[in-house]
């Protein structure tokens, strides 16, 4: 009987232990899966799978980077000499153009003659650059594939253009999103920090117990409103308000996003700041009052300095909340992928981009991988935020 009891104790402890490992396991799995899906983005050719860019065998150019290819297909570069080739003018060709050169009869009813015709084209036009499916390449092709420079981490992070579906070559630069995210977050904080801290101070130090007991559930309720409801509210009320106030063409702007996000970050900042203010020992406050300080002076000189690590935690967690927020921002910031140069223009954030585009990105394609890579960037942001909180906690514990 006694043995049985002991066995039960062990068994229960084992079950409890396994449950407690789940969160750690999840964090690790999140890292693994984000990288598993997203890392393929780097060191791969920016070309869509099964597509190639070919030039005539006589053409000395062997490799181009994404910018050059884009310039060529936009006809900003019209001569091979600009990219290190002979003085030949460039002739653009994509599969869609094929009917301009050959009739449907020539190509055959199921395009069975397409490869041969592509071969003819490159023989007749030594200056051609062709963007075609690799399946339609003939066996003895008279051209060679161009190597395309691979996407590097720096291209991804600092690239200023995000055109994930443009042909023949998409661009995956997330710099506009990084700037957009930071600007929207900054704006939100400029608004939420003063309001949040003032409210927290009012609740912790000024208001009577009764008023505080009234405010507390209201703040909790504000924290419980779903972000899509905030987004909806922002879309119907804040966006038109911003548009009218500043006489803008569109109201979906960084500012609108900042206001909505600011409101959403308020409960986090208020709750944690208030808790921090409350940890100030009564004895310190009494000592200050006993020396003839007013409550306000006590607050500024004793309570706030005492609680400052808690207040910093509140602000950082507010930042975390703002950076990661998805739906509300998606609904009110306009989602333009240009780098925002003021608070009154549209912008898009990292989370909003993922939410808006993942549904349309083909599974396993480059666009899909790029969105997971964006997820990695967002994840790194949150790790930085969390680590700063841990850092502050540890430091204040030691002091």
């Amino acid at each position: 009987m006694k043995k049985f009891k002991k066995l039960v104790e062990y068994f229960v402890e084992a079950v409890l232990f396994s449950s407690s490992t789940i969160t750690s396991l999840t964090v690790i799995l999140i890292v693994i899966f984000l990288f598993r899906e997203g890392i393929g983005m780097f060191n791969s050719s920016p070309l869509e799978q099964n597509f190639v860019i070919v030039v005539s065998q006589k053409n000395p150019v062997q490799e181009l980077n994404a910018t050059q290819i884009k310039a060529i297909f936009n006809q900003d570069i019209v001569n091979w000499s600009a990219v290190g080739g002979a003085k030949d003018s460039i002739i653009l060709f994509t599969t869609n153009d094929i009917t301009n050169y050959y009739s449907e009869e020539e190509l055959g009813s199921s395009l069975e003659n397409l490869p041969a015709k592509l071969n003819d084209f490159i023989l007749e036009n030594p200056g051609a650059i062709m963007y075609i499916s690799s399946k339609s390449l003939p066996p003895n092709f008279a051209g060679h594939k161009l190597a395309v420079k691979k996407i590097g981490v720096a291209d991804f992070v600092f690239g200023e253009q995000w055109y994930p579906t443009s042909e023949p070559i998409p661009s995956y630069g997330i710099w506009p999103m990084i700037i957009g995210t930071l600007m929207v977050t900054l704006g939100a904080l400029l608004f939420a920090i003063p309001l949040g801290i003032a409210t927290a101070i009012f609740m912790a130090e000024v208001a009577s117990m009764r008023i505080r007991n009234l405010l507390k559930p209201i703040i909790e309720l504000l924290a419980g409103i779903p972000s899509v409801v905030f987004g909806f509210f922002g879309l119907i009320i804040i966006v038109p308000l911003v548009q009218k106030t500043f006489g803008l063409v569109v109201g979906e702007t960084v500012l609108a996003g900042s206001i909505v996000l600011g409101i959403m970050a308020l409960p986090t900042i208020i709750t944690i700041t208030e808790d921090a203010l409350r940890t100030t020992p009564q004895a310190l406050k009494e000592a200050s009052l006993a020396l003839g300080a007013t409550r306000w002076q006590t607050l500024v000189r004793v309570v706030v300095p005492y609680a400052k690590s808690g207040i910093s935690t509140a602000i950082i967690l507010g930042i975390g909340r703002a950076i990661g927020e998805t739906m509300a921002v998606l609904m009110v910031t306009g989602n333009s992928s240009n780098i925002p140069h003021s608070f009154l223009v549209p912008a898009r954030t990292i989370p909003a981009t993922i939410a808006a585009e993942l549904g349309e990105a083909p599974y396993g394609g480059l666009h899909f991988k790029a969105l997971f890579a964006l997820g990695i960037v967002l994840f790194i942001f949150t790790i930085i935020v969390n680590s700063s909180v841990e850092f502050i906690k540890n430091r204040s514990r030691r002091a």
Binding site: L284, E286, A290, G292, A293, R301
Partner: protein, 250 residues
């Protein structure tokens, strides 16, 4: 002459009648010890004199408290001015998490005095009065959290002295200290008596006997007896006082 006085003081916390019709007065340059078992109202009484009980939400006072002939509970009384003229030392040392210097200067700074020279002078004078100067004069920038408990308590006394109070309230100032630090504090109180009026709450009867000129005995919210310490300890008028002092209850 009377420095401070309570007349018909009744205190309630909600429905609880914490002090019952207490009358007591304090002479300048004297030490009065308040004794009595826990919950007898002696701390509440002490805290009437700098309106510290105001911080408790359901506190109510009837009767009057005067300091320097001024009713400190009058409608137009300025609470921070009053508190400035009355120093307080708490049970546990509670220095601010600032430097030693800033702790002592605090009372001046919150009253708008920021002149460096004045501050330097007051800090030195106060630390000397609190018998701490010699130990910390080379380390004034050091955090007050980094010195010993006994030193912290003397720092808190220095902090109270800096605003030149007339009356000093001490709420069991040595109860959290070791015997050596306690002896130092008692010595200090003896010195301070020359220039300040001191009211001290203590649990330690020997301490009350050693340092005070007068003693008041509280029991269940009543002031049972108030007299010269010598008389209280040797020949109390009330039997309850006798029982308490001889350790028959408490």
């Amino acid at each position: 002459m009377i420095q401070a006085e309570a007349k018909n003081a009744n205190v309630w916390y909600g429905d609880f009648h914490a002090l019952k019709n207490v009358n007591m007065s304090f002479e300048p340059s004297s030490v009065t010890a308040l004794i009595g078992p826990s919950g007898c109202g002696k701390s509440t009484f002490l805290r009437l004199f700098n309106r510290m009980n105001d911080l408790i939400s359901n506190f109510k006072l009837e009767g009057s408290i005067t300091v320097d002939g001024q009713n400190i509970y009058a409608k137009d009384a300025k609470i921070d001015e009053i508190r400035k003229t009355i120093g307080m030392v708490f049970q546990k040392p509670n220095p601010f998490p600032k430097s030693i210097y800033e702790n002592v200067a605090y009372g001046l700074r919150v009253n708008g005095i920021n002149d460096r020279r004045t501050l330097d002078e007051v800090v030195e004078r106060s630390l000397k009065q609190a018998a701490l100067w010699e130990e910390v004069k080379d380390n004034l920038k050091k955090s007050a959290m980094a010195i010993s408990g006994g030193q912290q308590q003397r720092l808190c006394i220095a902090r109270a002295l800096a605003v030149e109070p007339k009356l000093i309230l001490m709420d069991e100032p040595a109860s959290a200290l070791d015997p050596i630090s306690t002896a130092k504090i008692e010595e200090l109180i003896f010195e301070l008596k020359k220039s300040f009026t001191i009211i001290i709450v203590t649990h330690n009867l020997q301490q009350a006997g050693r340092i005070s000129d007068y003693t008041g005995f509280f029991y269940l919210g009543d002031l049972i007896e108030h007299d010269h310490t010598q008389k209280m300890f040797l020949n109390p008028a009330q039997e309850r006082t006798q029982n308490y002092i001889t350790g028959r209850f408490g």
